[in-house]
């Protein structure tokens, strides 16, 4: 936290006054009369953005643990596919992956009658499962690489100590290896989660109605260009701020790594 004193040096006070003047000017001279009409839709879009972010981050992380483990200590027939997966995900644009899944799978599924008659079909006809799948795989690909480094970064002595106590392998993984690996990469995970937040507006291109899609709709309905975009940027900055604070709180909770 920056101390309050450093905020009140003269040039910062002048800058804050200028910024406040800018905000007042924006509030007075730009058009904001569309907000009440679109507020319910925007709330819905915000909720979609947030749940997609949370769900894909959690699922992606759950997938990244085995990916990292396979690359760190797995035999070659597990390590090679895991490395290939991470390379492909990290080497191609996310937009292309989303479109491949949505248009590709979306055009493939209706050809099979047994899929059309299955219970899952009402969901598979919507866009959000493809968005969740694409974002989950993307997060897993980037995080798998991070977790590989994290798992090999845990001190050997810790694992040897656990082994010499006769700890079962699962307990050792759950109580010693995973917590220490995660603790070491918490700052990286925070950064990656913000990157994931910045990837969510791409789902608007496959008709998922997130906060970005709402702003595009405002823009095309009312021909107001800048105001929705500025507000949208502000919303994303606020969410990024919440993520940063959340991870910082979590980092302070866990005992700090060896210095």
């Amino acid at each position: 936290m920056t101390s309050l004193k450093s905020l009140f040096v003269p040039h910062r006070i002048v800058m804050m006054i200028l910024f406040a003047a800018l905000v007042v000017w924006c509030a007075l001279s730009l058009r904001w009369d569309w907000i009440p009409q679109y507020a319910p839709l925007a709330a819905e879009g915000l909720w979609t953005t947030v749940w997609i972010l949370v769900v894909t981050s959690i699922l992606g992380f759950a997938l990244a643990v085995p990916l990292g483990l396979a690359q760190a200590i797995g035999p070659w027939y597990l390590a090679a596919p895991a490395r290939l997966f991470c390379t492909i995900i990290r080497g191609t644009p996310l937009l292309l992956q989303i479109w491949l899944l949505y248009y590709g799978l979306g055009s493939l599924f209706p050809q099979f009658p047994w899929i059309r008659s299955s219970e899952l079909w009402p969901y598979l006809r919507q866009a959000w499962p493809y968005a969740v799948l694409a974002l989950t795989l993307s997060y897993a690909g980037y995080e798998g690489e991070v977790m590989r480094g994290a798992f090999s970064g845990v001190a050997k002595g810790q694992l040897e100590a656990a082994k010499s106590f006769g700890m079962p392998r699962m307990t050792m993984f759950r109580c010693i290896w995973l917590p220490q690996a995660v603790r070491n990469v918490l700052p990286t995970l925070g950064g990656e989660t913000i990157l994931q937040l910045k990837a969510t507006p791409l789902v608007a291109t496959i008709t998922v109605l997130d906060i970005y899609a709402v702003s595009s709709r405002v823009r095309s309905d009312t021909f107001i260009v800048y105001e929705p975009l500025l507000l949208l940027a502000l919303v994303y900055m606020a969410i990024a701020g919440v993520i940063t604070l959340g991870f910082r709180w979590f980092e302070n909770k866990v005992p700090s790594a060896q210095r």
Partner: protein
């Protein structure tokens, strides 16, 4: 060759991907060329902004430092897609206002220039941080020695700081280049005919989604892997004369 393709059941895909007009391969390659052009331009512009930004953050006055902090924080917290739209509209608006003020007609801005301008500003924020870290990693004695000899600031930068920081900056810059190549895909959303948009057009007019999206993915992957080779080579060159961290033979 054709026999092998037919055996694998890929004859149809090969026909779709042919370079001459019935196939769409030429379009994809043209899209790739556009993507690479923008990535190169944006990366170069990002490096220039980043160099000045890093110098400003390290040696600038308090006002400049605060302004640069706002620039890097805001750019890195807002999705690239939103920034692209904002910068695209602001850029075209400003140019058109200037043109009408000087008595010209409204000008049409080429997609490549707009793409470079937009992605360059985004890249600049990331490059500022990478280069700032790299300059800080240079032993300060080297820069102080150059100053003590009375070297002008620009010559110090050219002869001492930049060569010495190269080895620290290359890994970060390699990452930035990969981000630049992948971010060009976002320009598809403002309707610029780069690889991803060309792919989508080809795919939706032939209904062969998997063929085209997988082909485009392979092209992006080739660029990534090839860049990895090049940057590995640059890093070795930048590290020449430095002791290896792994130990062993010097």
């Amino acid at each position: 060759m054709t026999n092998v393709l037919e055996l694998l059941g890929l004859a149809e895909s090969a026909e779709l991907l042919a370079l001459s007009p019935p196939g769409w391969g030429g379009n994809l390659l043209r899209g790739l060329l556009n993507s690479l052009q923008i990535a190169f331009g944006a990366f170069g512009m990002g490096l220039i902004i980043g160099l000045f930004g890093a110098y400003g953050k390290l040696y600038g006055g308090p006002v400049l430092r605060d302004l640069l902090a706002i620039y890097t924080t805001v750019i890195r917290a807002v999705p690239e897609l939103v920034l692209i739209l904002i910068l695209y509209y602001v850029g075209t608006d400003l140019i058109n206002k200037a043109a009408t003020a000087m008595g010209y007609d409204r000008v049409e801005i080429s997609g490549i220039v707009a793409g470079i301008w937009v992605l360059g500003i985004v890249q600049g924020a990331y490059a500022t941080e990478v280069l700032r870290g790299a300059i800080k990693a240079v032993p300060p004695g080297q820069i102080e020695a150059a100053r003590a000899y009375g070297m002008p600031a620009f010559m110090t930068m050219r002869r001492v700081t930049i060569p010495a920081m190269m080895s620290f900056a290359t890994p970060g810059l390699a990452n930035l280049w990969l981000i630049a190549t992948k971010d060009t895909a976002l320009l598809a959303i403002v309707g610029f005919a780069e690889l991803t948009l060309e792919t989508r057009q080809a795919a939706s007019s032939t209904r062969a989604y998997f063929t085209f999206f997988l082909a485009a993915g392979a092209l992006y992957l080739l660029v990534t892997l090839f860049s990895g080779l090049i940057f590995g080579w640059i890093e070795r060159w930048a590290r020449r004369g430095q002791p290896s961290l792994k130990g062993g033979q010097p």
